[in-house]
Symmetry: C2
Subunit: 337 residues, 2 copies
Amino acid sequence: MKKKIRVIQYGVGPIGAGIVRLMREKQAVEIVGAIDKDPSKAGRDLGELVGAPDAPWGIAVTDHAGTALGQKADVVVHCTSSYLKDVEDQLLECLEAGCCIVSTTEELAYPFRKSPEIAKRLDQTAKDWGVALVGTGVNPGFVMDKLVLTLASVSQRVDSARAVRIVDASKRRLPLQKKIGAGMTPEEFRRQVEAGIIKHHGLPESVAMVSDALGLGVDEISEAIEPKIADERVVTQFLEVQPGQVAGVHQIARGTCKGQEKIYMELQMYVGAKDSYDTVELKGLPEIKLTIPGGTHGDIATASVVVNCIPAILDAPAGLRTSRDLPMCFFPPSAEP
Amino acid sequence: MKKKIRVIQYGVGPIGAGIVRLMREKQAVEIVGAIDKDPSKAGRDLGELVGAPDAPWGIAVTDHAGTALGQKADVVVHCTSSYLKDVEDQLLECLEAGCCIVSTTEELAYPFRKSPEIAKRLDQTAKDWGVALVGTGVNPGFVMDKLVLTLASVSQRVDSARAVRIVDASKRRLPLQKKIGAGMTPEEFRRQVEAGIIKHHGLPESVAMVSDALGLGVDEISEAIEPKIADERVVTQFLEVQPGQVAGVHQIARGTCKGQEKIYMELQMYVGAKDSYDTVELKGLPEIKLTIPGGTHGDIATASVVVNCIPAILDAPAGLRTSRDLPMCFFPPSAEP
């Protein structure tokens, strides 16, 4: 029997916990450590922390990355922040420990425009240590980029691309409902947008990836975040939104080439959305459209994409990769190590 | 400036001609030769043969593969037959000339079950010469396999997969309308099915790829081909079908594991289809469905997938690859060599 894939979980918040539970189902994976800087988690058993029925697992969460990285893992699954500058040192430390990385940091999904210097350092360090890293998830990582590129593989010519994702946040967890501003006044929402608190990260990264991959020559990327105002009362398990209050976010990113729109990406994520779906549309030859009715469930899908990427990142050439480069597939629970 | 990708077209039938026209639009590609065993094509200018407005190109079609392969190409685009045993020697000769190959041979899309020995020889020869080859197209290669695997990247668990493709053949070329039996009596259709003349190739290959990639453990693949009978008169540009006559094919492939159905793939291709679409559906967690309304246009898409695969096959590790391994994307016409 071959050696199992040794994995360390870095960041055990709600998404990290979902990832850990999913990894536990994969025969080929052995979880060998977990890192979380939260002192209330340090020292706890990972299985108990993620609410696993078969806990304890005998894996202690540590707040000291170096201790866990001493375990000689093959892969670190990294879920600590959306911002690349906040995680650069964490990522470098993992690479220098000889680990491949799959990270949910949205700004890592395609960092070459916003953070070319950090991208270069990560790429070089990964190459020096012979490992690969990727930033991915459901979006960025799938709906508005990988799915667009995959659909474009049947295109002879692509003139422009459009992706729209409507998410009904009513059934999502409370932190998400709060994060999108549900129940706020429009004024409070705008203040939080200005303060950088309300924002779905990753749209400009998807625009950049799609532009480069499809050769659309986007030279400017703009982004707007507006409140989605409730026109009727919405009650969720956690909160209530009155008409006139904010139901969630309506975010649009555009990529233009010499002033002409080439890429349009729209995300609506709000409580009480009646029709949720993902669509991708390409103008060109052929004109083609793809729809996922009901949409891709965010929490389930992010954990899936990350865990499903583990075999691909181990197979990838050393360096900084993106979901553009990796063949995306499913990691069967029964797959042999 | 970097060297352009030197390509030889092997087989200049209708699909091959479409591929040649599309390759001509890619700045990074230089077509350096063309092979076709048809004596009426040998010696003709490739540009004229494919009806290019800027013909002649000064590229003579040859019926002698060795002559063209002396051109030291990087890639051979190969479109001569659906059957792997008929093309094995052609493929080996290209590999031994140091060329990567993108082929439309349906049985090459995933040959490991039906033709494991041929697959092994091709893989070994490719590795010996440091090149890679892949069999691909719209189906197999995209709708019923790559799209299924890509969608599965958001899955935590996959219990079964289903793909349905309904194609309206009314607007397709005459050879295709004839190939699907349009206008035949049901008896004649069945005779031609038995003789192996009427058949869409590649469904079992897609079933095998999906089973292996998703870990569905399919141990038996069955296939049925039935006529789709016209219930009203259908008139196309080329022919007429009366009620009771055959309008096209209705083909179903199933993959079962210990008798239980895990994969269902259905292809309906007939004149007068009112609602054409491609759908992929996964049971598991989540339950997810994807639809391409109108469907992926076969002739356009096959040429696209093949040409769009050229950069990917050059980047791939040496050996026999499948669309499962390759990141599929678009090959921008403006991409630099």
